[in-house]
């Protein structure tokens, strides 16, 4: 199996606050790995470091064997191959849904408009954004719709892997399902993904492997069965307990 992403001993500090204390893992083609863990544990920082939205202090990152952490790497070119879906969607507010997806195709991939449009439309269809919504602006869309447009924007670039940073945690409960469904669709198409989420049921359903990141360290990893159904680690048990309670209280 082909290795898409490899992270080796990644470290990141903000001042004296050591947020990532040496994180290593890899993801093969078509694999889906999920990161869970308590708030403040460094999950977002890890994802941001992978495509250099935040600069790591040390460690190595490889995409398809190319080292991103080497000094003379063409970062924009590498980022193009790493999709990113943010917690707060981060759509371009001055562009409608359609042009949000088109932006990267036209400005980064420099595609001809006809070609770009076809890809944009396919991407929007894949995440279930109806044609009626294509010319609406982000501020006119619901959170669930915005996040699905954001996913379309990422997949349109035909990335090697997509990183998701809690894609549903800013959403009202009734909107979570539509976004998870869109992600599930990508999974069925064989998209390689690294997903941070608190949706434990979804993680169990979709993940090949679940990693537990706490305090800047991956303290355990394993199949969904090992990690969710029979967690051995006390901290994971406690964490899952809290998550389940929160769910019940909604």
């Amino acid at each position: 199996m082909k290795e898409v992403l490899k992270v080796v001993d990644l470290k990141k500090s903000y001042g004296k606050n050591e947020v990532l204390k040496g994180v290593s893992f890899s993801i093969n083609e078509n694999e889906i790995k999920v990161i869970i863990g308590p708030s403040g544990g460094g999950k977002s920082t890890l994802l941001y470091c992978i495509n250099f939205l935040t600069k790591p202090n040390s460690g190595k990152i490889f995409l398809d064997g190319v080292e991103l952490t080497s000094p003379n790497v063409d970062l924009p070119k590498m980022r193009e191959k790493i999709g990113f879906v943010f917690q707060h969607f981060n759509l371009f507010m001055h562009l409608d849904a359609y042009n949000n997806v088109l932006m990267g195709l036209v400005r980064v991939k420099k595609m001809k408009l006809n070609e770009a449009k076809e890809i944009a439309e396919n991407s929007l269809n894949l995440v279930g954004i109806d044609k009626k919504l294509w010319n609406l602006y982000p501020a006119q869309l619901s959170g669930g719709q915005q996040q699905r447009v954001a996913i379309a924007r990422a997949i349109a670039m035909d990335p090697r892997i997509i990183l998701f940073d809690e894609p549903t945690s800013a959403l009202d409960v009734e909107l979570i399902g539509e976004v998870l469904k869109a992600i599930k669709n990508l999974a069925l198409k064989g998209m390689t993904m690294l997903l941070v989420t608190h949706e434990i049921e979804f993680a169990k359903d979709i993940a090949n492997e679940i990693m537990f990141l706490d305090n800047g360290v991956i303290i355990d990893k394993g199949t969904p069965e090992e990690m969710i159904l029979n967690p051995k680690n006390e901290r994971i048990k406690k964490f899952l307990g809290i998550i389940t309670k929160e769910k019940e209280n909604v």
Partner: protein, 221 residues
């Protein structure tokens, strides 16, 4: 003596003389706003994108200019630097507007949520492209209302070029008033002219604003 003596408005030559000053007023406004736009952009660039000790020099420069009354600025240029009257007026209005426009540009750039920049980088745009395709178009839309205010302030402040003897409306009104010995009517008259110019500008700028509004933004609380 009557409070209002409208008969003076039958002196068409005098009225025509004052109204011709509108051209100078408009010229000063556009020259000032134009120079202010270019220099203001440079100031903003310096403040926002230059590394740490340098950017504070630009910021300080803006603060100093904003702290000087326009009249003083005019006289520094005219009597101190020995520029000609018209040049002093244009340069004075220009650099003062630059200081205010740079503030408008900077806060408009800063008003754009950081997340969009990260998203733009994440799809592979270069930093310069992020500025061009994401930041700039939004900053322009955001700045229109405060930029409109600056335009109107500048339009009115061209009247201060009076101290330099530039024959814009204000100076001409003063000359005529003195010649015919009636001040009240003439100043009310030019107040109305300024008001009409301000309303007109406001109307046009508001059209531009409405045309460039981002749909849905600011509509839901």
């Amino acid at each position: 003596m009557k409070i209002f003596d409208f008969s003076i408005f039958s002196n068409l030559d005098a009225i025509k003389y004052i109204l011709t000053g509108i051209f100078n007023t408009i010229f000063l406004t556009f020259a000032g706003i134009g120079i202010g736009f270019i220099c203001g952009s440079l100031l903003t660039f310096g403040e926002v994108y230059l590394p740490s000790p340098l950017n504070s020099i630009f910021r300080l420069l803006g603060e100093i200019i904003r702290g000087i009354p326009l009249t003083v600025l005019f006289l520094i240029l005219y009597l101190g630097v020995n520029l000609g009257a018209l040049t002093s007026a244009i340069v004075g209005l220009g650099i003062r507007s630059a200081a205010y426009q740079s503030q408008i540009f900077r806060s408009s750039l800063e008003a754009i949520p950081q997340g969009q920049l990260l998203a733009a980088l994440s799809i592979g745009l270069k930093k310069s492209e992020v500025f061009l395709y994401i930041l700039l178009p939004q900053a322009i839309k955001i700045m229109i209302p405060s930029w409109s205010n600056e335009f109107i302030t500048l339009l009115k402040d061209t009247s201060i070029a009076f101290v330099l003897g530039i024959t814009e409306i204000m100076t001409r009104a003063e000359l005529i008033s003195r010649a015919i010995g009636r001040y009240f009517e003439i100043y009310i008259f030019i107040a109305i002219i300024y008001f009409i110019m301000v309303r007109g500008s406001n109307y046009l700028l508001n059209l531009i604003y409405e045309k460039n509004k981002i749909p849905g933004l600011g509509e839901r609380g």
